[in-house]
């Protein structure tokens, strides 16, 4: 706890990131309870209304309140980001830790697959996979998780490599502990720090990528509110009613920025060379 407070005191940008994130989470958690509008109900009479006291961010081409759609879309977007990272973490870390701990042909095989996935630009692979799986939110999440998992695998592997030669791991194995217990209780637990930094940064990429897939029509399908899809759905009205497309776009920017601010500061904090500079 003291470590966390010290980190926040020394990192103004991380605090800014945390504040933006908390505001966003509060907004999408409480907002839908307060608003009297539905995110999906059509109201053609009031379509493309400019921002006013009734509709703070105006309405879209179907007369739906833009602010309300951003609140509900935020729930989807943050849940997607979190789901993608949990999935990528689980798959990437399992394979990476096993590769680093086992070595030999298992390591070679896993790392060649990792290299092959990394040989695609992440967005291209995510697009190709979700096009093949068929356009839906679940498939977009799966596709983005597949492209993010190798990064976790790489970090986990290098952690496992350096930890598995530590004296306490040797001690544990000479005590006769089974391999799976050493793997989980020693190698995985002691390598968590850098993986958590990676997770924070990956949350930003996960949101950005799923929003991009949504923008290209490969993520959430209408009328489900999702920020990326909402930008592209309103693109054609941008010249007369800029707010309908810009508002969800700004929401994506804020969410990704908040995670990057926190992740960037955490990365500095865990890097001894950088840390002396902060002190």
């Amino acid at each position: 706890m003291r470590e966390i407070l010290l980190f926040l005191r020394r990192n103004t940008l991380a605090v800014v990131g945390l504040v933006i994130l908390l505001l966003l989470v509060g907004f999408i958690a409480i907002g839908p309870l307060v608003t009297s509008y539905s995110p999906t109900k059509l109201d053609i009479l009031h379509k493309l209304a400019a921002p006013s006291l009734d509709h703070w961010l105006g309405t879209d081409a179907f007369g739906r309140d833009v602010l309300t759609r951003i609140m509900y879309g935020g729930r989807a977007t943050l849940a997607i980001g979190l789901g993608v990272v949990v999935l990528a973490f689980a798959v990437g870390v399992s394979f990476g830790t096993v590769a680093g701990f086992a070595g030999g042909w298992i390591d070679s095989l896993i790392m060649r697959i990792v290299d092959a996935i990394l040989a695609f630009p992440a967005l291209v692979l995510a697009i190709a996979l979700s096009a093949a799986f068929g356009p839906s939110l679940q498939n977009a999440m799966l596709a983005v998780a597949i492209t993010l998992a190798p990064q976790f695998a790489r970090v986990a592997r290098s952690q496992a490599l350096s930890i598995s030669v530590k004296p306490y791991v040797e001690a544990a194995s000479s005590l006769g502990l089974p391999a799976h217990r050493i793997l989980i209780s020693y190698v995985f637990v002691n390598g968590l720090g850098p993986l958590l930094v990676q997770s924070t940064l990956a949350l930003g990429s996960a949101i950005l990528q799923t929003a991009s897939l949504g923008f290209l029509g490969l993520g959430a399908q209408p009328p489900l509110p999702e920020w990326g899809a909402d930008v592209s759905a309103n693109l054609q009205y941008v010249r007369s009613a800029a707010w309908v497309a810009l508002a969800p776009g700004m929401a994506i920017l804020l969410a990704v920025l908040s995670f990057n601010l926190i992740g960037d500061s955490l990365a500095d904090w865990f890097n001894p060379r950088r840390r002396s500079e902060i002190d």
């Binding site: 940008l13 092959a116 190709a128 093949a132 960037d264 500079e277």
Partner: protein, 336 residues
């Protein structure tokens, strides 16, 4: 040097094999019978049978893969389901537009990113350093389509300085020779046309370059701070060298090496961003071609463009390694 490149290429074989397996699988993981899904609900049994034969779907999977790979080596990327044209030819026709855009974006990012990184590193924790840190984090967090939208609204719609989208001005078409618009304009003495091409390039280049410039600036700042703490910098200071000599000749030179790697990696990542940028700016490159293929469920084109993006990515990484070994002989000795 030659043996270094050959070793590097041999190391690539297993990776490229898995890349081919992934691209090959793209059509096979479609739920249901691929041929029926590809052709849509209105297809006759005859059409389905013809496509099954064309994709070798009646053979065992291993044989299908073999035919696919042999075809690729002969330049056969399959045929577009929409136009019926060979995918390889359609990609080749669009490649210059994508290369023109991404190379220009890379140059722009280097021109902007490196000086910012150097200036930040010479004044760590100054106001300037903090501002560039926030701006570069903004650049990395900005969805490409949002930046594109804002730039289009401001520079095309509001100020009217630049065209909203497209590659040429409709009144000043450029005759195609090499496929590179500016070059073609100059070669055919169509200077108005070349100027129009430049104007059309500015906004998409800016969008594509923003991400790379932001990453690069931050990266150069961090490596330079590390380098400036090294012993040889202290020696240089003790020798009484001037400050800008130390920064440029000792600090920057040694920070540029790792920057080469990051430029290469991020350039390849930027190619992925080209899909969004080209789509928004109606830029006729392979990114937009891939987007249209997704809309039309034109799987051979999706496969072909995915493979080309991966090839460009892998080629860039080899180029980076070679360049790195040219710049830093230590790497060559260690790896070769």
């Amino acid at each position: 040097m030659a043996s270094f490149i050959i070793r590097r290429l041999i190391a690539l074989i297993p990776v490229m094999f898995i890349v081919l397996v992934i691209v090959f699988s793209l059509v096979r993981i479609i739920p249901g019978d691929p041929a029926t899904t590809l052709l849509g609900p209105g297809a006759t049994q005859q059409q389905i049978d013809a496509l099954r034969a064309q994709l070798n779907l009646n053979e065992p999977v291993v044989l299908q893969f073999y035919h696919y790979v042999v075809g690729l080596f002969m330049g056969d990327f399959g045929y577009s389901l929409k136009t019926g044209q060979p995918v390889a030819a359609e990609i080749l026709a669009r490649l210059p537009a994508t290369i023109e855009l991404s190379v220009l974006a890379m140059i722009a990012a280097i021109i902007v990113g490196i000086p910012i990184g150097v200036l930040s590193a010479t004044r760590p924790n100054s106001f300037f350093d903090h501002v560039t840190r926030v701006v570069s984090l903004l650049g990395v967090s900005m969805p490409a389509f949002l930046l594109a939208l804002v730039l289009q609204l401001v520079f095309a719609n509001y100020l009217g300085w630049l065209p909203v989208s497209g590659r040429f001005s409709p009144y000043m078409p450029v005759e195609t020779m090499t496929g590179f618009a500016i070059l073609d304009g100059l070669l055919t003495h169509n200077f108005q046309g070349a100027l129009g091409a430049v104007q059309h390039l500015i906004l998409p280049t800016a969008v594509l370059a923003a991400f790379l410039a932001a990453t690069l600036g931050r990266f150069v700042r961090n490596t330079m701070l590390d380098v400036m703490g090294e012993d040889f910098i202290r020696t240089a200071k003790a020798k009484g060298l001037r400050r800008h000599d130390i920064v440029l000749n000792h600090g920057l030179r040694n920070s540029l090496l790792p920057a080469v790697t990051i430029i290469g990696l991020k350039f390849a990542e930027m190619l992925g961003g080209a899909i969004l940028t080209e789509t928004i700016f109606a830029w006729p490159g392979i990114g937009r071609y891939m987007f249209e293929a997704i809309k039309n469920r034109d799987y051979p084109v999706i496969q072909g463009t995915t493979l080309v993006f991966a090839l460009l990515f892998v080629l860039t990484s080899i180029l980076v390694d070679v360049l790195y070994s040219v710049l830093d002989p230590r790497v060559r000795r260690k790896m070769g």
